[in-house]
Amino acid sequence: MAIAKLTALAALLFASQLSAHTLTVVPSHYVQSKTGSFVSVDVSASNMTFQADKGVGLDAFYVWLPDGSKVKPAAVYQGKRKSQAEVELATDGTYRLELGNGTRYFTSYELKGERKRLMANKKERTAKLPQGAEKVVTTQGNSRALAFVTVNKPSEAVLMPQNKGLEFQFDRHPADIVAGEEVTVILLMDGKPAAGVELDLSREGELYRNEPERKHHITDSSGKFVFSAPVAGRYLLEASYQADIASELADKVREGFTLSFEAALP
């Protein structure tokens, strides 16, 4: 049962990279001035930014405490339109909230002109592929949805890159993002600056605007891009990266994350 759920989530995480559905982790508060309180965290797959469409399982939702340790949320609930996690903020510092499943392998192929997919890496796929499968490509996929919450003084432990997969480094703490100020971000792939990462920056309220006002960015040769939040509010940064790789397990790598954050009033 747990495995089935995880597989379903992995499929959704993977599918969300391909379709318009985007997984988001949105805490009720990004900044708190009191320890011992909670944040309620909305997790949803959605088409419009922060417009909940579909609740998802939270088996793979974790909280990284300011000291870097990883814990489960105090409670979770999976709703039809959105899921919710209750996260206790017992100490000062910055918390990372993340839904992610680690690396998964998917093999896509064509059989008599029809596109199909199975969960297998390059080593496993030979035994699983049907006779006559063509255009076989195995992708190593990883997708995460995350947010940071800061209680009192910001801390750095949960921001440190792990030098694994697609990660980011802001030129300031996420709690210091202010409307109208330029922010420089470096995208890292396995710890090295990654050029050609595609990014979309959107903000809440798309349902009530004719123009979604999304901004598209691509990292330059040094893995950098610069953005500024035009107004204070909640934003979503979506990043995706793909490349061919020479690996025993996959032909391609596809990595992505979504980061929700707030741009504060100046």
């Binding site: 900044v31 001035s33 009191k34 910001p154 100046p266």
Partner: protein, 165 residues
């Protein structure tokens, strides 16, 4: 003759000390809103240097810790990082009326600041009300000043005055 330069130096020191001794007076008004339930606003008043770095927290009027974060700029610049300083400068929240504050030209460590351009920053946020931020540039030197800042919804008229030395 030998002592003349020293005497001059002493004189200029005295002048500088006198300049620092003339405080900046801040008259601040909290308006009385006409509609809705009233809770006293949280208010912070501080000085930033020309690069918008906080130099001196003059006063913060607040009650519970939960809502200090609603003074967004204050919280980001000073509040979240220096609890002892915030506690030391905390006063009770205040209702509608006129209030007098002053700045003696010293930073948070008690050292006199250099002459130059500064910002007086006032931020007010009220439960069920709004938030106002005023960043008023002023020159800190021997000269006198009088600056009137137009009233907003949460911060009424603000008057900065300073005498000459």
């Amino acid at each position: 003759m030998k002592f003349a330069p020293l005497a001059l130096l002493l004189l200029s020191c005295t002048a500088a000390a006198a300049a620092a001794a003339a405080p900046l007076h801040i008259q601040l008004e909290l308006p009385k809103p006409e509609h809705g339930p009233y809770h006293r606003p949280y208010v912070a008043v501080w000085v930033e240097d020309a690069s918008e770095k906080p130099v001196r927290l003059i006063e913060i009027w607040r009650e519970k810790p939960d809502w200090i974060k609603d003074l967004r700029r204050f919280w980001r610049k000073t509040g979240r990082a220096d609890q002892p300083l915030v506690d030391a400068r905390t006063g009770a929240t205040k209702g509608p009326g006129r209030y007098q504050l002053s700045w003696d030209g010293k930073d948070d460590t008690g050292a006199a600041v250099a002459q130059g351009d500064y910002l007086l920053v006032l931020e007010a946020a009220r439960e069920h009300g709004g938030r106002n931020l005023v960043k008023q540039p002023f020159r800190w030197d021997e000269s006198a000043l009088e600056i009137k800042v137009k009233a907003g919804t949460e911060l009424g008229e603000i008057i900065l005055t300073k005498g000459t030395n």
